[in-house]
Amino acid sequence: MEKYIKWKNIYQNPSFPSFIILIAIIILNAFLQHNFFTYRAFKSNLLTFTPLILTSVAQGLVILVGCVDLSLGATISLVTVLMASLMGDSLFSMVIVVFIGSGLALLMSFINGFIISYFDPPPLLTTYATSVLWFGIALFFMPTPGGYIPSHFSKMYRSDLFPRFPVVLLFLIGAFCFLFFMSKTRFYKHIYAVGGNEEAAYANGVNVFITKIKVFLLSGIFIALASICVVAQTATGDARSGLSFSLNSVAASIIGGLSFSGGRGSIIGPIMGGLILGLLINVLYFANITSFYQEFMKGIIIIFSLAVGAIPKYLKTRSL
């Protein structure tokens, strides 16, 4: 049994550069925003970032298995539209609608997963097609933002469970625990196997079909959580609410060190990537960068993070 930490394992981990970038951005943010370490700022940041972090985890799982899912944002849109259309004031209604919404998210993810696993089309185009489809359905039911979310639902989401412990944190901690326990299962290894080399995984007895479907269902769970967060935060249903999540979650996963071809990267990567993207927007705001420059800087910093993320790969090939 090793009594020392293998430093090499840590700094050669594909997600390690994103950890460094995350620390750098936190420092930058703390420097620019004077009240960054106050509880209020912490909670407000948490409220804003959680949907993106959860979506990035969902996307990260899909990327790990070798696919990509551009329809996550549209799924969130449709589920929030559904929840905002159905929810009533009673506790019963809230609970039921949350379950229905989650079920819908799972169903939509299952459809994606089934089509991709059974027919083997390019995931990019398939999920783009489904994202257009979900977006259309969401627009059909709610052409303009609206719907009704009871105010105590929203308030409950924004409140604290204990002093200094926001409810939102529960979502994140629940997600982390779930991921932690999942990482000990054989299924987790199957994800990496299928993502790394499908044929080899199949030859070794891994049920590729079932694994892929399970991964999409799993991402559906996280999307369901993210939709609950979005709908509680905004208290409306908006067919366009999810649009930015799809591509941002892909960026977050890649910044987090995941390899696009699948099979490489830690699941913590997308979490860190999501945090980085979220804090990035904060940094741009507090650095008083005019809105004209924000889009530009966002792109530059993503490219920079990706370039930095490519460094361990580069170092590895050089040492050969």
């Binding site: 083997d120 390019p122 489809l133 530059i300 490219i303």
Partner: protein
């Protein structure tokens, strides 16, 4: 003369019967079906002038799809998500350089594609040498380009198209719009380049098997950088043409061109993995998408119904074209 064009487009090994059932032919049938469907639903759809105006709308998507075709053909899961933003900045920059004067046309024709080329080259360099996946790199680039266009215009694009360019954009000869003639020329040139020149053959080679190409002495990485550059230049040029059609510049005109350019490639049977396919396929894809959209608009459907139709169509196509029952 038609036979010549066919000879350029099909490889020597396709029998006429195979060609009739190829994806390309299916796309042609689909176009005809769409127009017939349009005529049934909206009498007068197949009038010459209406068909011409629908085709003219698809010219811009078609030009963008040419660049996208090159990138996708080059392999390595090549894709360019920044074409929409480069188109937008092309519109804005052309307007700025032209400033309504005919004399400025050569200047605009030189500088606008150069800017697109620059953006494309940067994407290509990062994709080839830093090995950032094309999806992410071009996506981030799209943000950068969009931001740049905001920065240089400060929200208010200036300038407009000069009279000569406006006539090209809106005028007709023998009732055929100039833009369509331009596009037909472009199709002929592009197909010739792809199938008959060394560069075109290199493109297919790099796309279908980059290792073999590398071992045969092709500098694959450098080649790919140029392909992305060319795609950027073409997208910016498309912006110039779009300006000639609209006359005045608007911000973010290109946003709705990115994903349809990829979808049109899929419809036209070009494999996203690279090495396979033909620009004509992308052309048919563009025409199908634009025609379908114009039918839906003429039917006064809501955006929701349009999106649902497009999504379903794309989904069915993607499954039918590229899907196969996997052995597991």
């Amino acid at each position: 003369m038609n036979n010549n064009k066919f000879l350029i487009l099909i490889s020597d090994k396709t029998t006429p019967k195979e060609f009739l059932f190829s994806k390309l032919a299916i796309s042609f049938y689909a176009i005809i079906l769409l127009f017939v469907f349009g005529e049934i639903i909206l009498p007068g759809f197949i009038s010459f002038s209406h068909v011409m105006s629908v085709l003219r709308l698809s010219v811009f998507l078609g030009i963008v799809a040419l660049g996208q075709t090159f990138v996708v053909l080059s392999g390595n899961e090549g894709i360019d998500l920044s074409v929409g933003s480069i188109l937008s900045i092309g519109v804005v920059l052309s307007a700025f350089f032209l400033n309504g004067q005919n004399i400025n046309i050569p200047k605009a024709l030189l500088f606008t594609p150069s800017v697109g080329l620059a953006f494309g080259l940067i994407s290509g360099l990062a994709i080839s040498y830093i090995e950032i996946p094309p999806i992410i790199m071009t996506l981030a680039m799209a943000s950068v380009v969009e931001g740049t266009s905001l920065i240089i215009t400060k929200g208010f694009p200036t300038g407009n198209a000069p009279p000569l360019l406006e006539t090209i954009g809106n005028g007709k000869i023998f009732n055929i719009p100039y833009l369509i003639i331009l596009w037909i020329l472009l199709i002929i040139i592009a197909s010739f380049i792809l199938k008959k020149t060394k560069w075109g053959n290199l493109l297919y080679g790099v796309g279908s098997n980059s290792l073999t190409a590398e071992l045969s002495g092709v500098r694959v990485k450098r080649f790919r950088v140029f392909v992305y550059g060319i795609c950027g230049a073409i997208a910016a040029l498309a912006g110039l043409f779009l300006l000639s059609y609209t006359g005045t510049p608007y911000l973010n005109l290109g946003a709705t061109y990115t994903m349809p350019s990829i979808a049109s490639l899929a419809i036209g049977g070009i494999s996203l993995a690279g090495g396979n396919g033909n620009y004509i396929g992308a052309v048919t894809g563009c025409i199908i998408l634009t025609t379908l959209n114009s039918i839906l608009v003429a039917l006064r459907t809501t955006e929701a119904v349009r999106q649902i139709t497009l999504g379903l169509l794309l989904l069915i196509l993607v499954i039918a074209y590229t899907g196969r029952r996997k052995r597991w």
